[in-house]
Symmetry: C2
Subunit: 128 residues, 2 copies
Amino acid sequence: MSVTETLSAIDPEAVAETQAAAPSEELLRLVVEAFQALADPTRARILYALVRRPMRVRDLAILAGVSESAVSHQLRFLRDRRLVRSERQGNAVIYTLDDHHVAALFREAEHHADHVRLGLPDHPYRIP
Amino acid sequence: MSVTETLSAIDPEAVAETQAAAPSEELLRLVVEAFQALADPTRARILYALVRRPMRVRDLAILAGVSESAVSHQLRFLRDRRLVRSERQGNAVIYTLDDHHVAALFREAEHHADHVRLGLPDHPYRIP
DNA sequence: GTATCATATGAGCAGTTGCTCAGATGGAGG
DNA sequence: CCTCCATCTGAGCAACTGCTCATATGATAC
């Protein structure tokens, strides 16, 4: 057996094959950005609320349990990534979900959470 | 109109109603952790690869385009959160997806990416 | 016009994250 | 035994994130 064969003995085609099926850099960037938007407790609370109904900043701040300024910053983040949309209504600004896939993403993540909970007993990972 | 009514004129029930439907803190934590796991380019590349087939650390490092040490760190992260599972095979360690919901999450995120791309032209958000 | 309410924004800072580097661990083969 | 290969791990650090605080903007009511 040659040195080259020995060095990559286990899965010589794995890399090439998987590389071909990999998503484009552009798509990967967008996908990762979508997950980043959902990967924060405050933003998740905001989006969970907006899945139920459109709401103004004030109320979102109460629900998310942070200052109105903090919510406003996060809403800009979400707006820039097209997860929410804003609309003036007199003095207030009403925010709406701008993509129904958000609800689907939450559903899938909850399924994963169930998976984690069911298998938890023997697993080393504990709440930080 | 009283002061109290004026202060919460737009949606007095929004908070209470949405608060009742909100997910528990425990579930929210797990959901956010799941999204955090997917919210990094290296981890996303690793998981995209593992959706295709089980693979050893070496190959994942090549596919993710980072050092084997870096991949190992990220694999521990993913292992702790039950997204992947590891199995020794002689000298190497083979990693496998530990939850088929990962593929579904990627699919949904890709749908969102399409949504973003379709609506991109008039939108202020640009690649950082 | 001024005052007030609601939201937005920029600067600054503490906490977190993902990498590198050096060294440890563990199986296979001589 | 010793050596090589593959993987793991801890420390340290540069970059990023999410908040607060102060201030700006914008619409309504007077």
